[in-house]
Symmetry: C2
Subunit: 341 residues, 2 copies
């Protein structure tokens, strides 16, 4: 798919180079260099139009892919059973040819065992298709907590929707869920807004459409099922009396579903460091889901696409794992109570 470059920091500013080569230029030459810069600004504006037309093309092709993605969804959720012809896949035959005789006999015994098991089960569609995709991809599995998995088993499809022509450029990821015990929404959405024009004060930093901000949606959690919150209990001892009380507090909980409540970018555009990091990671994820996951989901399910992505990276050496402790929110201080027991 078309690679849309991401801004490398949320506040990318191009500083003008006081590069000796240009400062030491004769004035008559510097003047002509400035003329070239003005031409370059015009190029940047033409480039913006180019990207608008590419976006039009993407919208057009999204409509051409959609029937294939809809069929994928129908197969995954068991709304459609593919025919034998639709299931013929040459590589299985190739894989069989490379297996040794001994392995062949082991494989045969194993298949007969599996066949007996299968005759008891009758799996519909492709169970846990999208959950498996998430678990196979580091960028996504890093967001997953154990308590998210039972919920993501109900994820049936992820669709990408583009902004309409004439609207500011954006795309929306729609996460379609089958009915479940966790929330009543059938679709959770995440919208990414993009900058598709050069910034007048900084025309040369434009390098194609960039994600600038995102908004999530409200999840209508069933009571007691909200995995983005947890309650913690703290015992406190009254400083004077010595009696102990238990304080229950609701605090944020790590969860994939925080993806739908991203930090907001304030009017003045300045965020704290943590939120900036969260948003930068969020933009990367949104981009990756749109560009790679949705278009090639089956290859992430089987693992084939992950090896492709691995080929793009070279080994850099090993690093010790960072140990992350759990962070708990600060306790409310009640002056009468000693916060530590």
């Amino acid at each position: 798919m078309l690679t849309v470059p991401l801004c490398s920091s949320l506040c990318s500013r191009l500083f003008f180079c006081s590069c000796p080569s240009s400062r030491s230029l004769p004035k008559v030459v510097k003047r002509r260099v400035n003329a070239l810069k003005n031409l370059q600004v015009k190029c940047a504006h033409i480039e913006a139009k180019f990207y608008e037309e590419v976006h039009e093309l993407e919208r057009k092709y999204a409509a051409l892919y959609q029937p294939l993605f809809d069929k994928r969804s129908d197969i995954v959720k068991a709304a459609y059973e593919p025919t034998d012809e639709e299931c013929e896949w040459k590589a299985d035959e190739e894989e069989e040819l490379t297996v040794s005789k001994q392995d062949e006999m082991k494989e045969k015994a194993k298949l007969e065992e599996e066949k007996k098991d299968e005759e008891k089960e009758d799996p519909k569609g492709i169970p846990e298709f999208w959950l498996t995709v998430f678990k196979n991809v580091d960028l996504l599995s890093d967001m997953l907590q154990e308590h998210d998995e039972p919920i993501l088993k109900h994820l049936q499809d992820i669709k990408v929707k583009f902004s309409d022509p004439g609207q500011p450029m954006s795309f929306t990821l729609e996460f379609h869920f089958e009915p479940n015990d966790f929330f009543t929404n059938t679709v959770l959405t995440k919208t990414y807004k993009m900058r598709s024009e050069p910034d007048e004060s900084d025309p040369f930093s434009f390098d194609g459409p960039e994600i600038m901000s995102c908004t999530g949606c409200t999840i209508d959690w069933t009571k007691g099922k909200n995995v983005t919150l947890k309650t913690i209990k703290k015992k406190q001892k009254h400083k004077g009396r010595g009696t102990v009380r238990t304080v229950t507090k609701t605090v944020p909980n790590d969860s994939f579903f925080n993806f739908f409540t991203p930090p907001e970018v304030p009017e003045n555009g300045e965020l704290d460091e943590d939120s900036e990091a969260v948003l930068a990671a969020d933009f990367e994820i949104g981009h990756f889901i749109r560009e790679r996951i949705v278009p090639r989901a089956v290859l992430y399910f089987t693992g084939e696409a992950i090896e492709d992505d691995d080929d793009d990276y070279d080994e850099e050496g090993e690093e010790a794992d960072d140990e992350e402790g759990e962070e708990e929110a600060d306790e409310e201080n009640d002056a009468d109570y000693d916060p530590k027991v």
Copy 2:
């Protein structure tokens, strides 16, 4: 500009994953996964058409940029003197505002000095524009030898030409030179051929058009000016007689101009390791000149674009320089002569 992914190795093959998750799938589910793979092959074919249309768009926009690039060329080679209005550039005023009083006086004295020097010279256009671009960009300066510089001073423009509709997808870099003492060609060309369809035997490795091969051109060197060759003299002692003779041999010389004689990819597609490395680097350079250098040349001249590119990379730590010795071709062995004196 549109980023066209490069193949990470000249012979990229996707191997099928014997990933436990897919081999241990129940047969009925595996069958449906195969149906999804067949849908994915259809997606790959639609994607190929998408990229053809993107290429059409690029061709259309190349025609829209061309007048701006032609004007750039006219200014660089002094065929056109831009008006005062065309040379107004706001940042110069901004730079002046941040200078301290002391610096201002130093700057003034320096400018008066320069003005006196300038009144003696009268530089036309933007001298050594493209040579400066090459020297400012590591990927290109790595190719430059000292003996190439006097020749590249005559480089007046680099144009990108696209293949015609209906032709196999390719692009050509045209290096336009003013008349010079080194060769009689006015244009040196390098053509990159691309693969724009999925490989039937490996449909999932398709990730957009990729450079697959390239061809250069013949340079009509003036006698004695061919910097891609050097002569070396070797003294040899006759084994029997003891007399010494001097043998003159012509061997390849490192030069940017070897860019126009890339290794050929043989019919069977197999290259030795060195040639493979040379070609991989060559494809990267061709791609970079097309996507970044030609569209934004002035920003590489001033150095502004280099900082942008730097922002895309994080510090990885330092490495000792590789020391590269000079390689000389093997001497012809004359059995009568001892090759070493």
